[in-house]
């Protein structure tokens, strides 16, 4: 049972994605009623017990983050759902919000009650206009139920304006405040000092959806799939040289190679049918060699042996006709375009990496590239600059993988 549809509605789901019937069919009305009968401390204890980790990339334990916001000083609190999905090869939040927008929003409402927030924001990628409309319609349904509104939790949708950096949590907060989407220095973390200086809980769409299905069931059910370290499922955006690209929901601990080859998942390699590498985690991710893919499970511990992480769940597959240097140039172009320009290592470093790769510097300037990449990873302000050179470093560490 590799495709485990929990966050994504089961294929036999009959109700419309935005409807009262969907709330019932997915158990979200039950989740809301159960949650509303609980004290915030008990809600947080249940999230902690479930072992949910943040699905935006950092995999921070969700319950601990909630407890942090709950314990933070200050009367006004905010909840933010990060739907500014912009990572290359990542399209899972879009699919999730198209197929089941009520789930993520119920997660937002549970989070708001847990941290005593009266106001929540959904920050959605500007290009996702149709998804945004669906989200707005779903909010209307929840308002009719009395769960959203000025007397419950006020939920506002904010649209991004096309900057990848606005998906970085603190840049996103600046953007909501009407400022330039530049990352803030951490600490202080948003849990203590977020929107307008108030304690703020910010979570990825997929994390919120996990919370909703948890409360529609219970901790024991939630932990029935996944691993003891990482219970639950992960949405994987599979693209590149596979027969069936798309978004798949897979339990943690599942073999990486099966994600590519299982008939009801990737369906096997396409193209030359010989694997050169995968890029896991998107533009900010890591290249993995075929034998590393073969030896890895979809879990943080297993992948960290190869310096890899699941990140947003983007899995790009390259056959042996693909020149990875060409891929690296594409990634370098992306980061040079998307750096906000605030700090020196990222602002100038992303440009220099692009220039050096264009001059075939991977062969002639490998040491200069490595020192530049390390300085960006070590000294940039935010996750964008720190991870922009990660794919490059993973190739520099695997010199035999460079050739076409």
């Amino acid at each position: 049972m590799p495709e485990t549809r929990r966050l994504l509605p089961a294929l036999h789901t009959r109700s419309e994605p935005v409807s009262r019937e969907r709330l019932t069919e997915r158990g979200f009305d039950r989740a809301m009623e159960r949650m509303l009968s609980m004290q915030p401390e008990d809600i947080i204890a249940e999230v902690k017990a479930s072992g949910i980790k943040g699905r935006g990339g950092a995999a921070f334990p969700t319950g601990i983050k909630w407890a942090g916001v709950h314990a933070a000083a200050g009367g006004t609190r905010y909840v933010v759902m990060n739907a500014d999905e912009s990572e290359l090869g990542t399209f899972k939040d879009r699919v999730l919000l198209e197929q089941d927008p009520l789930g993520a929003l119920v997660g937002v409402l549970i989070a708001a009650h847990a941290v005593r927030a009266r106001k929540a924001y959904c920050y959605i990628r500007g290009e996702y206009r149709e998804v945004e409309q669906r989200l707005a319609a779903a909010l209307t349904i929840l308002a009719e139920c009395g769960w959203v509104g000025p007397d419950a939790v006020d939920v506002e949708i904010r649209r991004g304006a096309g900057a990848y950096i606005a998906g970085e949590e603190t840049a996103l907060l600046n953007s909501i405040e009407g400022k330039r989407a530049e990352p803030r220095v951490k600490p202080p973390f948003p849990t203590n000092h977020g929107l307008w200086g108030a304690p703020t809980l910010i979570q990825n769409v997929e994390t919120m959806a996990n919370v909703a299905v948890l409360f529609a069931h219970d901790v024991q059910w939630f932990k029935e799939c996944g691993t003891p370290e990482t219970p639950g499922t992960k949405l994987i955006g599979l693209s590149g040289y596979v027969r069936h690209p798309g978004v798949y929901e897979v339990p943690f601990g599942y073999p990486m190679t099966n994600i590519i080859h299982d008939e009801d998942l990737g369906g096997g390699l396409s193209g030359s049918e010989r694997l050169r590498a995968i890029l896991l985690g998107g533009a900010a991710g890591t290249f993995m060699a075929p034998e590393e893919v073969e030896a890895s499970l979809l879990d943080y511990g297993s992948l960290s042996r190869y310096g890899a992480s699941i990140g947003s769940g983007a899995l790009m597959v390259f056959d042996d006709t693909v020149d990875l240097t060409w891929v690296l140039k594409k990634l370098a172009r992306f980061f040079a375009d998307e750096s906000c320009g605030q700090c020196v290592p990222c602002r100038i470093g992303t440009r220099r990496i692009l220039e050096l790769l264009d001059q075939e510097g991977l062969k002639t300037r490998a040491e200069d590239l490595r020192e530049l990449a390390l300085a960006m990873r070590d000294a940039s302000i935010c996750g964008l600059g720190q991870t922009a050179p990660v794919a490059l470093l993973s190739i520099l560490d695997r010199p035999e993988r460079q050739g076409a």
Partner: protein, 277 residues
């Protein structure tokens, strides 16, 4: 003591008042930390990353200019990662910007062993000098985007908000709004941005003109302290005098009235003192 924290810097234990930054703690431990964007009278911008240090338990390096010192912190100021980062920061800035009038950047390059040619040869910030007003010049080929001018124009001093950063990535730049020239912008020509600029990208027009003509000679410039004669606030002025003519006016950054900041009259309204009639 309750109002102090004790931390370790390069193996040395040092106690500093609670709320001090790691940079200040390093200073207290007599460990020199290079800085470019940090300024004593401005909020840390965290932009240049020259001041990064390694803090045990922190994955990325930490900007010491803004990070508040915590009890028990273990700080390394000269680890391999720190030294590589400082060197690369200096090399990247030297590859884009003209550092002739940037002593802090030249100092960083020297102590980090930077090779100014290593990342040179690509895109630069070379651009024409902006000479659109009679008080100061913007030679943005020298700009390192340290944000000091933006902060001085904004909340940290002037509260005029005439300039900000526009564009992104390598094209990020200081802009007076919609690419306007300064006289059409909200600028009030206080020159506080000029006072805090660490690279000569913003420079008084008199000084710039003298430098262009090879007539600016620090050794022959004398400084005279006085109080501004325009109003009753009592701003202290430092008159820079060359050949019996005032060529530049600033105010000490540690002066309790000005904190180094002046208005357009105090900074630029000195011609009456040397008018012929």
């Amino acid at each position: 003591m309750a109002d102090e924290v004790t931390l370790t810097i390069d193996g040395m234990s040092v106690a500093v008042p609670r709320g001090s930054t790691v940079r200040a703690a390093c200073e207290a431990a007599l460990v020199s930390i290079p800085t470019l964007c940090w300024h004593s009278n401005l909020e840390p911008a965290n932009a240049c990353r020259a001041c990064v240090v390694e803090v045990k338990g922190s994955r990325a390096l930490v900007a010491s200019c803004s990070r508040v010192a915590e009890e028990g912190m273990d700080v390394q100021t000269a680890s391999d990662r720190v030294r590589n980062s400082r060197k690369v920061v200096a090399e990247l800035l030297l590859s884009t910007s003209d550092a002739d009038l940037a002593p802090d950047l030249l100092h960083l390059a020297e102590i980090s062993g930077a090779d100014k040619n290593r990342f040179a040869g690509g895109a630069t910030w070379q651009q024409p000098v902006k000479d659109d007003n009679s008080l100061y010049i913007r030679d943005l080929s020298k700009c390192i985007l340290c944000y000091r001018c933006v902060e001085a124009c904004g909340e940290d001093a002037q509260n005029t908000f005439a300039i900000s950063v526009a564009g992104r990535g390598f094209n990020a730049h200081i802009d007076a709004g919609f690419g306007r020239e300064l006289p059409e912008s909200d600028c009030v020509f206080c020159g506080n941005c000029v006072a805090v600029c660490p690279t000569g990208a913003l420079i008084g027009k008199t000084e710039w003109t003298l430098r262009q003509n090879g007539q600016w000679d620090e050794d022959r410039i004398s400084q005279t302290e006085t109080i501004c004669s325009y109003c009753g606030v009592g701003c202290e002025l430092n008159l820079h005098v060359l050949e019996n003519r005032i060529v530049k006016v600033n105010s000490p950054m540690d002066h309790p009235v000005t904190h180094g900041m002046l208005c357009v009259k105090g900074r630029y309204g000195y011609e009456f003192a040397q008018a012929g009639e």
